[in-house]
Amino acid sequence: MILYILWLRQIKRYLRSKSRIVGSLGQPILFLVALGFGFGPIYAKAGGGNYVQFLAPGIIAMSILFSAIFAGIEVIWDKQFGFLKETLVAPVSRTKIMIGRTLGGATVATIQGLIVFIITLFIGFRPVSIMGAIFSFIVMFLIAMLFTALGTAIASRLEDMQGFQLISNFLVMPIFFLSGALFPLTGLPKIIEYIVRIDPLSYGVDALRGLLSNASNLGIGLDLIVLLSFVIVITIIGAWQFSKIEI
C-alpha cells in the first residue's frame, strides 16, 4: 500500500504536467528526424542498411535515460519544496520510500519510452515481430529502473539543482553517446570499447535493438543479465544513499 501510494504520487504528478510530457518528446523527435533522415543516406551507402531501423531503439533508450534520471533527480525538488520531510518523518522505512518513488519514476520513464516507440512507427520504424516488441517493454522498464535509481542516488547527495549541469554533461551525456545509441559499436578504438562495455545503457540499447530490429551485438541473454545486475546493485546503492539524507 505504501509502495502503491508513492508510486501513484509520481504518476499523478506526471499526468498533470502536460508541458513536461510534450517538452520531453521534442528531443527524441528532433534526433529521429534530423539524424534519421540526415545520416540515413550515408549509412545506407556505407552498407549499414536502413538507419532508422538502427536508430529507433537507440532513441527510445535515450528518452528513457533522460526521463529516468530526471525522475530520480526530483528528490532534490522534494528536498527544496519540503515534501521529502513529510515522507521521512512518517513511520515508514526509508527503503520502502525510495523503492516506491523509484518504481513510480521508472513507470513514468517507461511510458515516455512507449510514446517515443509509437512516434518511431510514424517515422518509418518497423519492429521485426510483435513478440519482440512486447518483450522490449520489459527491457524499457529495466533501463528506466536503473537510471531512476541512479538519479535518486545522486540527488540524495546534492543540496540543490546547481549540480544538475555537472551531472548532465559529465554523466548523462557520456552514458548516452557511448552506449551505441547513435552509431554501431564495431571497429572502435580499444579504449572506447572498454568504456562502452562498462556503460550500462549499451546493454539496454543492444537488447532493444535485438528485440525490435533483430540486430543484437552482444546477445540478448547477456544484455538482460547485465541490466538486471545493474538494476539490483544501483537500487541498493540508491536506497543506501537515500537512507543517509539528513533534513
Binding site: 515534501f83 513529510e86 518523518v89 513511520p91 515508514v92 543540496e159 533534513i247
Partner: protein
Amino acid sequence: MSEDISNKIIEVKNLVRNFKKVEAVKDISFFVKKGESFAFLGPNGAGKTTTIRMLTTLLEPTSGTVSLNGFDAHKNPSDTRRSFGIVFQDPSLDTELTAYENMYIHAVLYGLKREVYLKRIEELMTMVELWGRKDDLVKNFSGGMKRRLEIARGLLHHPKVLFLDEPTLGLDPQTRNLMWNYIKDLREKEGLTVFFTTHYMEEADKNADTIAVIDHGVIVAQGKSEDLKKQTNKTTLEEAFLALTGKDIRESEGNHGADMMKMWRGRR
C-alpha cells in the same frame, strides 16, 4: 519537583548534539506534561531547530535520550513517529497534488484504516475551513491556507503531541488568531499536547502554559510566563526574553552552514 512519571508526555535527558566542532545543543534536560501547551523560545541559532529535529527522530543525538509518549525516539522511531504530528517551519506539502490527495497520502503513510481516515479527513478539513477547496491543487493556495492544511494533516493520525515550528511565521493576524483557536479547541477535545516555537513573544505569552528559553544550546530559564517575568524583574515576556538572552544580534552559531542555508531558504 515531584511529578508523576506517567504525566510526562515528552522527557528529554542530557541531550547533546555536536556538529563537527560546534556544540549546537549542550546537555539539556526538560519534560513536557500531558495536555499542556509548551513554548520553546530562543534567538536564531540557539539550538531550537536542532532540538526539535532530535525530538522528532530526524536527527540522532550525540548523547542523551528523548522519550515521547513512552517511546525512546531513537530506539523506536516508528512508534515515536506515530505519536506525534508536525508542522515544519517551511511548507512540506506536495503542491502539484490537491489538498485531499495530500491528506490521503498522509493517511496511507501512517497506516490508517479507510473507514477511519475518510471521516477524519473530512472532519479536520472542515475544521480548518478547507473542505470546500479539497480538490484544488495546493499550488493555488495562499500561505495561510497551506499552513491550515498542514495543521489538519499533522493531526490526521490522532497524534498525542503536535509540534509546531514557527507555525505563524509570515501569516496575517487573522490567520494567526484562527490557528490558535483551532489548536485550543483540539487541546480541549482531544487532550492534545502542543510543543511550539515562535519569535512572537505575545503569542507565547497568550498560548503557552510553560515556556522554556534556550540560548547557546542550554536552557536558560523555564516556567510559566509569570515566573520568567518575576525572575527577571520585567513586566513583559519580550523584556524578560531579552534580559535572559541578551540584546546582541545572533549570527549562525550553534548551527552548521547547511542548516542555516535551509533556514534562510525557508524564510523567504
